[in-house]
């Protein structure tokens, strides 16, 4: 049935962005998330490749990176990358990970309710995976008052509801 209408359902289709004076919570559109693995030296250098294609590179571990973009990539993209850089394993996680933006002057106080990272020493550009409450979440500091959270699709709604509770006192 080649004419069936395929629908994409976002993991956070059922939630609404929250806008407070001191804190804002926004589900981000599902674009591209690639997980790039390999030998640490190769993975470390891969940032240059990512830059060329306009991806934002987020560190996850010594030999583990996420390449993130707001737009989806074409289906030929992954084979092209893998062919050009065979030393890297590039795994599509565009559906496996969901992104949430959290920003506002209370952002550190809110996130401190979930993670034990000393956010005062977590500079812009830093990225890591940590527990937020009971859910492992990848966090990137995009700007002084803005973080992007990335979570397994299966936990996206659950994390969102936890964040809703955490921001309540600032709304």
């Amino acid at each position: 049935m080649p004419d069936f209408q395929l629908h994409h359902r976002a993991a956070l289709a059922g939630v609404t962005a929250i806008n407070g004076a001191r804190i804002r919570l926004t589900p981000l559109p599902e674009g591209t998330v690639l997980q790039v693995l390999g030998a640490p030296a190769e993975v470390g250098k891969s940032g240059e490749i990512a830059d060329k294609y306009g991806f934002s590179v987020r560190k996850n571990g010594p030999a583990d990176r996420f390449w993130v973009a707001d737009q989806p990539v074409s289906s030929g993209f992954l084979p092209e990358i893998s062919a050009q850089w065979p030393e890297l394993s590039v795994v599509d996680q565009s559906h496996g990970r969901v992104r949430i933006a959290i920003e506002g002057d209370a952002v550190e106080d809110v996130l401190a309710k979930g993670t034990g990272i000393d956010l005062a020493n977590f500079e812009v550009g830093s990225a890591t995976t940590t527990l937020i409450g009971h859910i492992a979440t990848h966090i990137t500091r995009i700007a002084p008052d803005r973080f992007e959270l990335m979570v397994l699709r299966g936990f996206a709604e659950s994390l969102w509801h936890d964040l809703e509770t955490m921001i309540r006192e600032f709304i």
Partner: protein, 88 residues
């Protein structure tokens, strides 16, 4: 038990981000005698003092680490990536 572990890749993190496997003992050669394998799989020392353990930073970088801690005082002496080859 230490409340914070200083992961060499991620910095200081609460212990809840980790899972603990047990003693960090070298795996016997595949063809080592049964008795050596038996000891490796089933027997453990239980020292009061320095102890090397495999910890997994499961909610962080997902790297396996060797944590050297004192079983009595809970002081963590060292924490390194398990893939590092330490001189014998």
């Amino acid at each position: 038990m230490a409340s914070l572990i200083s992961c060499p890749h991620c910095g200081s993190r609460p212990k809840e981000e980790f899972e603990i496997k047990g003693a960090a003992l070298p795996r016997p050669a595949p063809d080592a005698p049964q008795s050596e394998w038996f000891d490796h799989v089933f027997l453990r020392e239980n020292p009061r003092g320095r102890y090397d353990e495999y910890w997994h930073h499961a909610a962080g970088c997902r790297r396996w680490l060797v944590v050297t801690r004192d079983t009595a005082s809970h002081e963590v002496e060292a924490c390194r990536d398990a893939a590092e080859r330490v001189p014998a």
